[in-house]
C-alpha cells in the first residue's frame, strides 16, 4: 500500500508520497527573500522554525502561483526526520532532503489517496524531458490523472 497527498497546482492534479510530508500549513504569510532565485518564494515560520517555501510551478518552468485563501504549504520532512520515519525502510536516500525544512506552495490540498503498490504507471512518453525528471509516475483515477511527483528530484534542482 502506498499513500499520496493530492493537491492542485494550476489545474493539474498532483500527488506526493505521504512519507516525505511532515505537515500541511495554512500559513501563507510568506516573507520574500531579496536576491534569491526565482523559484524561492520566501520564508514562513512554523512554530518558531523558519521554512523555505519553494514555488513548484516555477520549478516546472511556469509562472509563479498567486496566493489565495485556498493556498497551502506542504512541508516536507528533513533528512533527519526521514531517517526516523518509515521512509528509511524503503532504503531510499534521504540526504537530498537536507537539514533545513522546505515547503511547497500549492493552490489547494486534496484527499489522501491510498493505492496498491504497483498502481503507479511510468510517466507517459510525451512529457517534456525537463518536467519528466520530477514525475515519478501517473495513476488514473475515475476520470482524473494523478501525477505523482518525485520530491527528491524537486529538491535537487
Amino acid at each position: 500500500m502506498v499513500q499520496f497527498i493530492s493537491f492542485d497546482l494550476g489545474g493539474t492534479f498532483y500527488g506526493l508520497d505521504v512519507l516525505v510530508v511532515k505537515e500541511i500549513s495554512a500559513n501563507t504569510d510568506i516573507t520574500p527573500v531579496p536576491r534569491a532565485a526565482r523559484h524561492v518564494r520566501g520564508l514562513v515560520t512554523i512554530r518558531g522554525e523558519v521554512v523555505l517555501v519553494v514555488d513548484v510551478a516555477v520549478v516546472f518552468g511556469r509562472d509563479p502561483r498567486k496566493v489565495t485563501p485556498d493556498s497551502r504549504i506542504i512541508i516536507l520532512r528533513t533528512a533527519a526526520e526521514l531517517r526516523r520515519s518509515r521512509f528509511a525502510e524503503s532504503g531510499a536516500d534521504s540526504n537530498v532532503f537536507g537539514d533545513k525544512p522546505v515547503g511547497f506552495l500549492v493552490d489547494r490540498i486534496g484527499d489522501v489517496i491510498t493505492l496498491e503498490d504497483d498502481s503507479v504507471a511510468p510517466p507517459p512518453p510525451h512529457l517534456k524531458r525537463e518536467a519528466a525528471r520530477f514525475v515519478q509516475g501517473v495513476v488514473h483515477l475515475e476520470g482524473r490523472t494523478l501525477v505523482v511527483l518525485n520530491a527528491a528530484e524537486l529538491l535537487t534542482n
Binding site: I30, T31, P32, V33, P34, R35, A36, A37, R38, V40, R41, G42, L43, V44, T45, G48, E49, V50, L52, V54, D55, D63, P64, R65, K66, V67, A80, R83, A88, E89, G91, S94, N95, G98, K100, V102
Partner: protein, 1035 residues
Amino acid sequence: METDPELIDQFVAEATELLTTAEEDVLALEESGAGADPALIDRLFRALHTVKGGAGLLGFTTFARLGHAMEDVVGSLRAGKLQPGAEVSDPLLRGIDRLRTFLADLQNDSVDISDELQRLEAVLGAGDQGQEEATAADEASSTDADTLRDFLGDANEQVMAAADALSTLEEAKGADVQSAAGELAAILKNMVTGAQKCGLTRIADLAAALAGLAELVRDGQSPVDDEVLGAAYAGLDALRMLLFSPEDDEIPISDELAKLKELTEKRSVRAGPGEVSSGPPASESSSPSASPPADVPGEVQTPVPSKAPASAVEAPVQAGGDAQAQSIRIPITLLDRLMNLATELVLVRNQNIQAVQAKDIAELRSISQRLNVVTSDLQATIMQTRMRPVSTVFARFKRVIHDLGRQLGKKIEPVFSGGEVELDKNILEAIADPLLHLVRNAADHGIESPEERIAKDKRPTGRLRIKASHRGDQVHIEVSDDGRGMDADELRKAAVRKGMLTEQEAAELSEREAFSLVFEPGFSTSEVVTDLSGRGVGMDVVKACIQRIGGSAEITSTPGRGTTVTVRLPLTLAIIPALIVRAGDACLAIPQTKIKEVVWLQGPTVADAIQKVDRQEVYWLRGQLLPIVRLENVLESSFGEEAEEEDEGPPVTALLPKAQRTEQGDVVAEQAGPTEQQDVHIVVVRAGAEQFGLLVNEIVDTEEIVVKGLHHQIKDCDAFAGATVLGDGRIALIVDVAAIAQLSALRFAEGQETVVGQRSPTLEPRTILLFDVGTQELFAIPLCLIIRVEEVPVDRIQTANGREYLEFRGAPIPLIRLEEIVQGLAPRYPDGALYAIIPKSSRPFGILASRIIDNVEMPPQADLQAMKRPGITGSQLIDGRLSLMLDVYGIIETVYPGWLPIEEGLAGKRILIADDSPFSRLLLASYLSGTGLEIEFASDGREALHAIRQKAFDLVISDLEMPRMDGLELAHALARDRRFASLPLLAVTGLRAGVREAALDAGFWDCKSKSDREGVLEAVLKCCSPDVAAPVKQS
C-alpha cells in the same frame, strides 16, 4: 562489561587538560634548564601518572605504556639522574603529541609507538637501562607501598575468580557464554586498574590482553574454542606467576602476551565482515555514515577494533571530534547560579498561574517584568557555560612557536596576553586553526633569522605577540611580530604580476587595501613557499574561516618593523542583539556588533545631507566622509531584469518600484526627487576596518534575536547571514554587512575618506549634547562620545545592591545619577520617563538625565573654563545658563572603580596635549581619564615646545592646525633637537583628508581623528609601550 561512555568522555576531557599543562611544563623545564623548580617536575610527573592511570583503567594499554615510559623519564629528572634540556624535552613532547592523537582516536589502541618508546628509552640511558627501570619501580613501590599491598591481596582473589569464570565459560552454552565472558572481562579489567595504580605494567598488560579476548567472546565475535581457552588458561597462569613475585622482571610473559594479542586481533578481524550478515539489523549496517551522530558515542565504547574496514576509516575521525565536542567542564558556581535561576523561574510561573486565575492585571504586569529579568539572566548564564578562556588555544601556540623556532633556526619569544578573555566554545574551536596559521606565518615569513636581525640592529630574538582583548561586543585577537614586515608597494606590484589587478587599479589601492590583498586567493608574497605555512592553506582560507563565524581580519604592517593581523570576533553566535530596520518593504535585522551608530535624517534635510561624489553617495559624519549604501537598492539589484518580464509577479517583485529597476546611477538621481521627503536613517556599520552607512527607511526596534541558519538556496544570495523570528512572529533576514559592502562594490580609502581634496567646513568635533537633571545648571557631553540616548520609563530601572541598572542590548548596565558625583546638586527627576545617556565605552554604562535640551555647536573659540571638580572638566555659559562639561569616563571610574578596562603601563607617565581649542583639550583629556596619566596642556605649538624643553614628557599629543606654530612645525622643531629623538609624537586632527601622510612625514608616529576615542587610546598605548621604537624617518 561495557565501559561507560561517560567515563571515556571524562577521561578524554581530563587527559586533554593534563596534557596541555604537561606540555607547558615540559617547555618551562627546558627553558629553566638545570635549575628547574622541583615543584614543576612533580606536577609534570603527577599529570603523566594520572593520564597513564586513567588510560590503564579504561583498557587503553598502548596509551598507558607510552604514558608510563614518559613518566619514567620524568621520574629520572626528579631523581636528578637526568638534566632538563632539549634532548629530554624533545621525546617527551613527541610522546605528548602521540598521546593527543590517540585521544582523538580512542578506538585505535594498536598504534605503533615504538619510535616514541625508543626515544624515551634512549634518554633514560642506554647503558644501565635495567638499573634505571628498577629504580623507577623502586620509586613506585616506595611511594605506593600500601597501594601495592592492597592490590596484591585483591589480585590473588581476582585471579581465582577469573579462573572460576573461565571454567564456567568452558561449560556454558547459549546466552550464558556471553554473561560468563562478561564477568571474566570485568574481573580482569579491575585488575588492570589496580596494577596500573601500582605501576605494575606487565601485570596490567597481561590482564588487559586477557580482558580484550574475553570481551570478544562476550560480544559474540569469537566462539569459545580450544584455541581461545588455551590462550586464556596460559595467560591466567602467567598472571599468577607474576603476582607471586610482582617485581621480578625476569618472568617471561611475552609468549602468552603475544598469543593473546594475536588471537584477539585475528578473531576481531574475522568477525568484522561476518557481522554484517548476522549481527545487528541490516538497516543500521547498510549505511553507517548516514546514521545520526547520536549513534557515534556508542561505537567509541568498544576499544576492540571490530568494525567493517570501510567504515573504520571514517568513523574514528568523527568519533574523535564528537568525543571532544560532547562534554564541557562547567564551574560549580555557574551551575549553582543556573539552579537558582531555575528556581526563581518556577516561582515566577507559580505566581503567574495565581495571578491569571485571580485576573490580577497589575500583578501580572509586575510578574512579566520579573519574568523578563529572570529570562535574560538565565539566558546570559547559560551562554556563560559555553564560554572558554582564550588561553586554552594560546597554550597550544606556545608549543608550536617553540617547535617552529627550532625547525627554522630562529629565536622566537612568544608573548601572550589576555588569555583570560572568554569566547563561545564553538567560536574558539573555529578560530584555533586560522590563528595557528597566522602564528606559523609570523614565525616563518615575519620573523627573520638571528643573523639577519643582528645585521638590522634588532634584538636577535624575535617577538611574537598574541593578544586577546575585549572591544565592546567583540573580542579582538592580535597576532603581531617584530619581523621584516610587508611593503604595500611590493604587494601592489605582486598583484599586477599575478594579473589580479591592472597597474592603474593597483596604484589606486590604499595602503589598507593593499595589505588586504594578502587575503585574496592565490596571493602569496613569499617567493619560496616553505613547508610550514605554504601547505595549500592560504590566508584566503584563514579569512574565510573567520568570516564564517561572523568575524573579520585585517593586516597592518610596517616594512622592517613587523606585521600585525587583527582578528575581530563576536562573543557568541546563538543569540545576538540586533537592530530591526525596514528598507522598502523588507524587515531586516542588523547585528549590533556591526553597528557604530545611527543617524536620523529628517525629511527636508535628506537631500542636502546626502551628496553625490563621483556616482557614490556620501554623507559627512562629523568630518568624515561616509559612503552610503541604500539597503533597499542593493537587495533588489540582482533580479531586476527577471522581474520586469512578469506583469503580475508574486509579492516579491511587487516590492520594487519601477524606477529602481534601471541602472544604479539613475536610480540615485530619481531618488533625490520628491521621495526624499520622508525621514531616513543611516545605520553606520563596520565591515572590517572600514565603515559605511546603510540607508534604511525606518528603525523598528532593537531585539535580542535567535539566529537561524539559512537554507543553502538562500545562502547563494550572498547578502544574509541568517534569519530570525521576531517577537511578533514575523521573519526578518539578518543582514551580512560585509557581503553588502562587497555587493555594492564600495571602495574605501585610507581613513574612510572616499574623496580627497574636499574639506568640510565643520570638522572639529565640537557638537555637544545639553541636558539637565531638573536643576538650574545644564550639563554637557560631547556628542561624539555618545552612542545612544535612550528614553527610560522609571519602571524599567532595576535596583540591585543599592545600585540602579538598565537593560541595554540584553545586558544590565549600571546607571549613574549625577548627584552621586557633583556635590551640592539637588536634582528633580520626573515620575514618568527619564533619559539614559550612554557614552561610547567598551563596557557600557548610562548617565541619567531628566530632560534633553538640545544639540549645540560650540563656537570655535568658546570661553571654556577648565574646572577641577569631580566629574566636571569645564564650564561655559550657553544662552545665559551655566553649562557644566562632564568628564564621562572620570565619572564611571569614580562610581565604579575598575569599570573601564585598565590600560596597563600608562600610570604615572606624563603627557602633553597641545591644542588651541579648549574643547578639544578637554575632550582628549577625558579619553585618558582613569589611565593614571599625568596630563598637561599647551594651547599652541610654541607653548608646547617651551614646555617640552622645560620638562620631560613621555608622550606629546598635538593638534595639527594651531595658531603661531602648528603641529607640523612643532614636529619639525622637535626633529632638529636630538634630545627628543625618541619622544613619541601623536597627531590628532579633525581634518583627516590627506593630512595623515604629511603628519607622518613630519615625524609624527601616528595620526588619529579627534573624535575617535578608541583610536586615540590605542595610539597612546602603543606610543607608550616600551618596546616600540620611533619610526624610521625618511630623509
